[in-house]
Assembly symmetry: D2
Homo-oligomer: 363 residues x 4
C-alpha cells in the first residue's frame, strides 16, 4: 500500500482565522494526526516587526491542541510567511497524508518534515547551519520515501534568526549583530544546505554564505522566524511509495519578470492550453521573490532598493505576485521574499503542486 498526499489550500480571513482548517478536521477530511506541515501566507509586512506570523501560529496551535498531544504538536512545522502585497490573498496550505492505493506506474506527490536540533546562536548563518540543514533534508527525503535528489522539487525551511539577547548569550560570537542581516544569512545558509543535499552545490566555507551568490539552489525556500532556534524542514517531491492524482514540478525564474519559465511550469497542469486555463488544477504555487542586487531588471533601473518607505521585499512580493497571478488566474499564491542563494540574483525558485486529472479540484 502507498501513502497519498492531500493538499488543502484554504482562505484565511485574518491571522487568527483557523476555522477553515478546524472545519475540515471536524468533517474528517483532514486527520490531524497525519498533518505533515501547515504553511500560511499572512498579511503582515513580512519583515522584522511582522506579528501576523506569531499570531497565526498561536491561533493554529490552540486549535490543534484540541486534537493532538503536546509532543506531536511541538514537532509539527508551521511555516508562516508574511506579506500579501498587491492582490495576493492570505491563505493556509495544509499538507497531510491519507492512505493511498496500490503503487502505480507514476511517481506521485510525496512530502515529509523534520526538525533539526536547536542551533546555538553562533551557528546561525554559518557552515554549521548548512550542515544541519543538509542532514535534515536527507532525513526528510528518507521519511518521504523520495530516493533520488532529482525527485525533490521544493524544500521549505523555517529557520532561526539572531536577536540582541541571543547574541549576548554567546558572548557576541555571532555572524552579525544586525537582526535584519541575520535573517538573510540564516535564509542563505539554509538554502545552501538544501543545495548540498540535492547535489546542486559542492563544498563551501563560511565566506561563501551571503556573498557568493553564484551558489544557489533551484528548489530551496527559506523564511526566518523569531520563535524557534531549530530549522524546520519540509521536503516536497515525488515518490513511487505514494499514489493519488497530485504531482509537483519546479522551475526557476531567472529574473523578476521571467514569465516564460512560469508559463512552462503551468503548462504541465494544462498542456497546450492558454493562460489561466487551469486555475483549478494548479493547486498550490510556491515561489520566492526578491529585488535584484544589481538594481536592474534586463538593463532597466528598478527603485526597490532605494525606497526607504517600503522594504524591497514588499515591493518584490507584490510585483512577482502580480505576474504569477496573471499567469495562473488566482491570487492565493505562496510568494515569499528574501531569496539569498535561492535561485539567481533577482529571480527565484517556483514550484507547482498540480492535479494530473482535470476532475480533481482543490478543497
Amino acid at each position: 500500500m502507498t501513502r497519498q498526499a492531500q493538499v488543502h489550500r484554504l482562505a484565511m480571513a485574518g491571522p487568527s482565522d483557523v476555522a477553515p482548517i478546524a472545519r475540515l478536521i471536524e468533517a474528517g477530511e483532514i486527520d490531524p494526526a497525519r498533518i505533515v506541515a501547515v504553511l500560511g501566507k499572512t498579511e503582515g509586512n513580512g519583515c522584522v516587526n511582522d506579528f501576523t506570523r506569531g499570531y497565526a501560529v498561536q491561533s493554529l496551535r490552540a486549535m490543534l491542541a484540541e486534537h493532538l498531544p503536546a509532543e506531536a504538536l511541538a514537532r509539527l512545522p508551521m511555516v508562516m510567511s508574511g506579506g500579501t502585497e498587491g492582490g495576493l490573498s492570505p491563505h493556509w496550505i495544509v499538507l497531510s497524508e491519507t492512505d493511498g492505493s496500490a503503487p502505480g506506474a507514476d511517481l506521485a506527490l510525496a512530502f515529509a518534515a523534520t526538525i533539526t536540533r536547536a542551533l546555538t546562536p553562533d551557528e546561525i548563518g554559518r557552515s554549521a547551519q548548512v550542515a544541519l540543514v543538509r542532514a535534515g533534508v536527507e532525513e526528510a527525503m528518507a521519511k518521504a520515501g523520495i530516493t533520488r535528489a532529482e525527485d525533490v522539487h521544493f524544500v521549505q525551511i523555517k529557520c532561526p534568526l539572531l536577536t540582541a539577547e541571543r547574541t549576548l548569550a554567546v558572548g557576541g560570537h555571532v555572524v552579525t549583530t544586525s537582526m535584519l542581516k541575520s535573517m538573510g544569512l540564516s535564509r542563505g545558509a539554509s538554502a545552501l544546505g538544501v543545495g548540498q543535499a540535492l547535489g546542486e552545490i559542492g563544498t563551501l566555507t563560511d565566506a561563501d554564505i551571503g556573498v557568493n551568490f553564484d551558489l544557489w539552489s533551484a528548489r530551496a525556500s527559506a523564511s526566518p522566524g523569531i520563535e524557534l532556534m531549530a530549522c524546520e524542514i519540509v521536503v516536497m517531491g515525488q515518490s513511487a511509495a505514494w499514489s493519488g492524482p497530485l504531482r509537483i514540478a519546479h522551475g526557476v525564474m531567472q529574473d523578476a519578470i521571467d514569465a516564460p519559465s512560469v508559463a512552462a511550469l503551468l503548462g504541465l497542469a494544462a498542456p497546450g492550453a492558454p493562460l489561466q486555463s487551469a486555475p483549478d488544477r494548479a493547486i498550490a504555487l510556491l515561489a520566492k521573490a526578491e529585488a535584484s542586487a544589481s538594481g536592474l531588471i534586463r538593463g532597466a533601473r528598478h527603485t526597490m532598493l532605494e525606497d526607504s518607505d517600503l522594504s524591497s521585499t514588499r515591493h518584490a512580493r507584490g510585483f512577482v505576485g502580480g505576474l504569477l497571478a496573471g499567469l495562473i488566474g488566482h491570487t492565493e499564491l505562496f510568494v515569499s521574499g528574501g531569496a539569498e542563494h535561492q535561485g539567481p540574483d533577482g529571480g527565484g525558485p517556483v514550484a507547482l503542486i498540480y492535479s494530473r486529472s482535470p476532475e480533481v479540484a482543490p478543497a
Copy 2:
C-alpha cells in the same frame, strides 16, 4: 502630405534627469517645437506628498525653456505619474510629430493635446469638469485629425485637485474638503468626460461622479496634479492623416489579474508569438491599476484597502505592473493608479503603442 508620430521611451535616472531628452533634441531627432506632450513615470509614492512629479516638471521646463518660447512651453502638457512600485522603471515618453509620407492605406498613430480653461475650485469633481473635458477631447481629436470616436484608443488627462486654499477661495462650496478625495473625484469626472466624448457614456449628474461605477470609459486615464487648475488632455488614436510604422490599440483589464486581455493586445504587435517575444515592437504600454472596491479578486480577499502602512494605489501599481512586465518583457511601463470610472472596478484600460514593422525599435 501626412504627419508622422514619433514616440521615444527614455530611461530616467531620477526626477531631474532630463538629459536623455536633451540629447535627442540636440541630435535633431526630436524637434522641440513639435513635441505634443511629455509623459513621465517618476519614482515617488504617487500620492498626495509625491514631489517627484513637480521636480520632474520643473526640470523639464528648465531644459525646454532653452528651446521653446515661454508661450509654447506653457501650453505643452507634461503628465507625470508617480509610482514605480515593484520592478517598474522610471522613464519618459515623448510624443512628437515629424513630417510623414503620402497617405497610405492604413490608419497610423496620431495624437494631439489641448488644455481646457482653468476650472474654478467648485467645478472640480462635478459635471462642469465632465463637460469641459468632453469638449477638450473633441477639440484634441480635431487637432489630431481623428474623425471617428472608435479611432481614439487612449486619452491621458492631467487634472486639478482641491487644496485648503482653493476650497477657501470659493467659500467652501466644493465637492469635498478632503484633498485625497478630490483627487479621486477629479480623476473620475475627467474619465466621464472622455467617456461622453467617445460615446461610451450618456448623460449623467453630479450624483454619478465617484458613485456610479457602472459608468466607465475603456480609454480614459487621468492623474491629478496640484500645480494646475486646467485639464491637460492628450488624445491618442489613429488617423489617415498620419503615416509611419506606429499603431495604437487598447484593451480593458476586467480585474487586476486579467492577463488574457493584455496578452490579446500584445498579440497585435506579435501575432501568434509566445510571451515576451516582441518587447522591441511594444513601444509604450499605458495602463491604469487599482484595488477593487469589493475587497476581492475573483472571490479571494485582497488586503490592499486595509493596509494602513501602504496606500492601495502603490499596492495596485506594483501588482499590475508585475503582470504587465511579465507579459511584455520589460519594465518601462506607464502604470498609473486611481482608476475611478476608468475601466471596471478593480480593472482598467490598457493601451499599446506598437510598431507594425519588426525593424522599428524604440529609441
Copy 3:
C-alpha cells in the same frame, strides 16, 4: 472598609508577552478575580491592519483563562491601543482592586468597568451609541462609588467599528461604508456619550457626530477594536469609598505642543519640582494625540495630513509622545491616536495617575 486601587505598569517584550502579569498573579500581588481592566500599548501601527491588538488580547485571554471562569473573562475589558512611535515603549497597565483601609479624609483613585449591550451596525457612530455610552459611564461611576461627575478624570472606551460584513448585515443602513471612517465616528460618538454623562456636553443630533468639533469631552479616550460589537467602558476617578496612596487628575492639551498644561498636571505629583523629577510617582499617563484638522500648529504648517506614506495618527502619537516623555522622564506612556470630540482640534485629554506619597513607586 474601603476598596484600594492598584495600578501596575509593566514592560511588554512583544504582543504575546503576558509573563509580567502572570508573575504578579502567581506572586499574589494581583488577584485575578479583582482585575478591573487591562490596558495595553502595543507596537503595531495603531490603524486598520494592526494585529498586535488582537494578538495581545488572545495572549492575555489564554493566560487569564487559567485563573478566571469564562464568564468573568468575557466581561473583563482589555483595551489595547496600537502604536509606540518614536521612543514610546510597549507596556501593560493593570487596574485591580484590593481591600483598603478605613475611609480617610481624601478621595482616592477609584475605577470600575462596564460593558454596554452589543450595538447593531446601524447604531455605530450615531446617537444610539452616544446614549448607550452615556448610560454605561453612569453605571460604571455607580460601581466605582464615584458620586460626582467632577470626580471622574478619565474614561477609556473600546468601541466597535464597521466592516463590509456588518454593513451588509443591516442592508447598508450604516453611517459610512468606509471602515477607517467608521473608526473615527465610533470614537467620536463614544466621546460624546462620555461628555454627556459628565455634563460637559448637552443634547446633540447625529449631524453633530464627526462634524461639530466644538463639542468635546476633556476626559474621554476612545479606541475602536474590530473584535467587539459592544462598548467596553472603564471609568477612572476619585472616591471617598476608596483609600490608598493613588490619585488621578487630568488636563487638556490645547494643541500638540501644549507642554505647559502637561507640566501643570505633573506638578501635582511633584509640586514645585523641576522637569522629570518624579518619574516614579507619575505612575501612569494616558493621553490622546491627533493632527490638527487645520493643518497648522500655532500658525505653522504641519505635514501630517498630506503624508501618504505614514498615517497622521502615527505622526501624532510619536510627536506628542516625545513631548510627554521629555516632561515626565520615561517612555511607558499610554498615548493613543484619533481624538475626535476628545479635547479640542489638534489637542487632547491627558490624565495622570500618581502617588501621593513619594515612597510608593510603580511595580
Copy 4:
C-alpha cells in the same frame, strides 16, 4: 567696524517655495551677495529616496541665479535636511551678513562657510574625509573671525555619499557597497573631523569610524546629499569681530528624552522664565536625533529599530521634535536624523540661536 549676523527663519509652503526668500531679497533685507548659507528643513522622508532636498536646492538655485554670478552660487552651501515628522514645520534658515556697529564688550553670533575639495569615492567614510573636514572647519573659523575652539557652537556639514556608479569608478575600493551605510559613515567621518578641529577628539584610525561611538562631537551635525562630492561646512559660533543682538549656545541631549538639557539651553534666552516663554527670542534651534543603538531609553525598550515600515530616523525626528517643540513653543525646528559620532548614543547636539534683547523677533 564689525560684521553683523542676520538669521531669517521662513516658512516653506513646499520644496519649491522660495518666494519668502525672494521677497526679503527684493525688499533689501537680505543682500544676496552676503548670504553665507541656506539651510532648509524639507518634508521628504529624509532617507535615500528623499527628492525634496534636490527639488528645494534646484528651486533655490534658480531663484538665486537671478541675483548672483554662477561662481558665487556654486560656492554657496545649501543644506537641506529632509523629514518634518510629527508636527515639525518645513522652513528655511537663511544666514547672511550685514555691516555691524563698532565692536562691543560681548562676543556676537558669527558664521562662515567653506567647501572642501571634491572627495574621491574611496575617501568617503574614511580618515581622509576626517582630515579634510578638520581642515575645512579651521578654515571656516578663520573666515568667521572665531579664534577659539570653545567659541564654536555648531558645525553643519553636508557631505557626499556612495552610489553604485561612484563605487565602480574606484574599482570597488570603497568603505561599503551599501548606499545607506555610506550615508552613516560619511556623517560619522564628518563629525569626527569637526571633533578634531574643536579639540574634542584626538587621533583616530579608519577602524574608529562608525564603530567607536565613544568618540563624538557635541557640536557637529552632518547630513549627506547625493548631489555633491565635496563637504560643505558651515561653522557657527561667537566672535568679537561681529556685533548685534544675536547669540548662539549649545547643549547635548544625553538621550532622546533629555528635556532638562534643552530647558537649560532655552533658559539662556529667557532666564528664569517658564516653558515656552520666549518663542520669539529663540530664533533657530538646530538638533540631531537618533534611535539609541541599545534599543533602550532609560531601560525601557523602544521599537524604532525593529519597525520595517518606518525608518528609525523618521521615528526619532518626530519624537525629539515633539519634545523640543513642547519646550520652545513653536514647530519650525531644524531636527535632523542620523547622529553617528554626533553626541552620545541615542542623544545629540542641540544649538540655539537666540536674541539677547527681547525686542528682536525673528523675521
